[in-house]
């Protein structure tokens, strides 16, 4: 019988846990899980033979890969090859799509996420997600973060205020918005909105962050800021990022997984160290894609 793991508490990270973060002018960025030392990879998410279909149409077939703790894993490949579907399977957001069915296993820390006894909301709390288009709620900046915190039991005003300040500092938004926390989040610029969404996800103290092309709806400057932010999150969070921007994948990712459409369905072609995928791909499709997209 499946037992729900003890949830990680949502509380302000203590700077003492994280001497590295303290040095980084007051940012805390959450506790370090595993350093970016990818020479000693520990799998956090294990995917075995995972397939996904929308009605009769198979969108993703037989994906098997391990995603390593504390590392950034980039999912690359052409549009329509199932990257986004794969990403939203990890926090079971695909449940919300009518007619969507899955087979195979996705395990986080050894526990199958499709176990019937699994509390989906607790699962999603531990897995933050950032979408392509920034999706702040049409509420105030403060309320955007307070709402999910409240939902997960952080109800004391003091606690929420501390966490909100901390996560806004972590995403570098505090100095820009601290004097207008109670004005509408929709008045922020695109890049600020996206960072607010990241802050909102971080506030729940997740272990994993899923990012679906988080920079592609932003202008180059905002995109650069968000990219730097993602790099800084390495080691504290296990990050899975979908991106069409190969240069970006190369700059920030430790691992890369290349997806391609075979027949009608998307599938995983190659998975490996980012360097290896880009410099000495084992598969000719990967080589062609990486070269073609580069040239």
């Amino acid at each position: 019988m499946y037992r729900e793991p003890e949830p990680t508490p949502i509380e302000p990270a203590k700077a003492a846990d994280d001497p590295l973060g303290k040095a980084d002018n007051g940012y805390t960025l959450g506790p370090m899980q595993v350093g970016p030392a990818c020479c000693d990879p520990q799998p956090l998410i294990q995917v075995e033979n995972f397939s996904l279909r929308y009605g009769p149409k198979t969108a993703l077939a037989n994906v098997t890969l391990d995603i390593y703790r504390g590392c950034i894993t980039a999912l690359i490949g052409p549009s329509g090859c199932g990257k986004t579907s794969f990403l939203s399977s990890i926090n079971r957001l695909t449940d919300l799509i009518p007619g969507c069915g899955v087979s195979g296993r996705i395990c986080i820390d050894g526990g199958d996420i499709h176990d019937p006894a699994r509390n989906v909301q607790a699962l999603r709390r531990q897995i933050g997600m950032v979408f392509q288009k920034p999706t702040p709620f049409p509420l105030s900046i403060y309320r955007n973060i307070e709402l999910p915190l409240h939902e997960h039991g952080v109800k004391r005003r003091v606690d929420t205020a501390v966490i909100i300040e901390q996560v806004l500092r972590d995403v570098g938004l505090w100095d820009e918005v601290h004097d207008r926390l109670h004005s509408s989040a929709l008045n922020l610029s695109g890049g600020q909105q996206q960072r607010l969404c990241i802050a909102r996800a971080l506030a729940l103290n997740p272990r994993i962050l899923l990012m679906d092309e988080p920079c592609s709806a932003l202008d180059p400057i905002a995109s650069g800021i968000v990219e730097d932010l993602i790099s800084r999150l390495r080691g504290r969070y296990t990050i899975v990022i979908v991106t069409h921007n190969l240069a970006q994948a190369r700059r920030i990712a430790n691992y890369a997984a290349f997806f391609w459409v075979r027949g009608q369905a998307g599938s995983l072609v190659e998975f490996g160290h980012c360097r290896q995928i880009f410099e000495s791909p084992a598969h000719e499709l990967t080589a062609a894609y990486v070269k073609g997209a580069r040239g």
Binding site: R92, D95, L96, P98, P116, A117, N119, V120, Q121, A122
Partner: protein, 292 residues
């Protein structure tokens, strides 16, 4: 839309399940209201349908419940004359209003005029009836006595259903893709050429649906017609003769009707409802086909 099926067993999902059942209960109650209405209309009509054969509602010599005579035909004709006359006037006026808002008036004037039409739609029927009674009827009386007449009914009804025609026509014109109009302008069509050649054909099903909705409203209208048409049960042979509509008849006789008479009034209510519902059904079908 969004739904979920996996998380039924998890603890907080039970709150969701509870909410879902609560919502379902409310929606079921809303549905129950309709069934209840149909049930009670049928139940109350039943004595009349059992005692009086259906064809007598159209062939009896007159409407005289005291002497067991139940001819609804003159009131049916009165209802239809008034509705048809009002549609005849309101359709061109309504479409012209929609064109005025959509293509002729400046944005500022258009928005003022649209609000005016919306306000016209919000004036209660009893106020239209009162105005008709105190202003229109005396005017018509000077023209041709007695004043309270089919004509007065048609005029008042026109004002009442015009907003329905105008606002639905405007909504459909608004939905005509802008590229069509730009394409037509690029071909050198004049404004009226664009409207007649492109906009009206593209919007015609939506406009027709609006006209049919207005017809439904005209047939079901009670108070205004009750107040201005004179309420004489007869087949009108001219615009200046008084008539009585089905709905007005119900409102007039309901307070003292007993037994079969009361049941006969419910039969006329049922008739009205069926008429209006079938019109709305046609309109809904038109609107759906227009979308696809």
């Amino acid at each position: 839309m969004i739904w979920s099926r996996h998380n039924i067993l998890s603890p907080s999902a039970s709150v969701d399940t509870l909410t879902l059942w609560l919502l379902r209960g409310a929606a079921g109650a809303a549905m129950g209201v309709v069934l209840l209405i149909l049930l009670f209309l049928a139940m109350e009509s039943w004595p009349a349908l059992r005692h009086i054969s259906i064809d007598r509602f159209l062939t009896d010599p007159s409407w005289n419940p005291g002497e067991n005579l139940y001819n609804l035909a003159p009131m049916l004709s009165g209802t239809l004359y008034a509705a048809a006359g009002a549609l005849l006037l309101a359709t061109p006026l309504g479409i012209a209003s929609a064109l005025f808002i959509a293509y002729y008036a400046s944005p500022h004037v258009a928005s003022i005029y649209r609000h005016l039409v919306e306000l016209l739609a919000g004036i209660p029927s009893v106020v239209y009836g009162f105005w008709g009674l105190t202003t229109l009827v005396p005017l018509i009386n000077q023209l041709h006595p007695p004043g309270a007449s089919l004509l007065a009914g048609i005029l008042v009804l026109t004002l009442m259903i015009l907003p329905t025609v105008a606002l639905t026509a405007y909504a459909t014109l608004l939905a005509v893709p802008g590229e069509y109009m730009i394409g037509a302008a690029a071909l050198g069509l004049s404004r009226w050429g664009m409207i007649r050649g492109v906009a009206l054909p593209a919007a015609k099903t939506g406009i027709a649906a609006g006209v049919i909705l207005a017809a439904g409203r005209a047939i079901g209208e009670t108070m205004a017609l009750l107040m201005v048409t004179g309420n004489v049960v007869q087949n009108a042979s001219s615009l200046f003769e008084p008539i009585r509509t089905l709905a007005a008849n119900i409102a007039l006789e309901m307070p003292y009707a007993m037994d079969d008479h009361r049941a006969a009034l419910f039969v006329s209510g049922l008739t009205l409802m069926v008429l209006v519902m079938s019109l709305w059904g046609v309109a809904a079908r038109l609107a759906r086909n227009g979308d696809g």
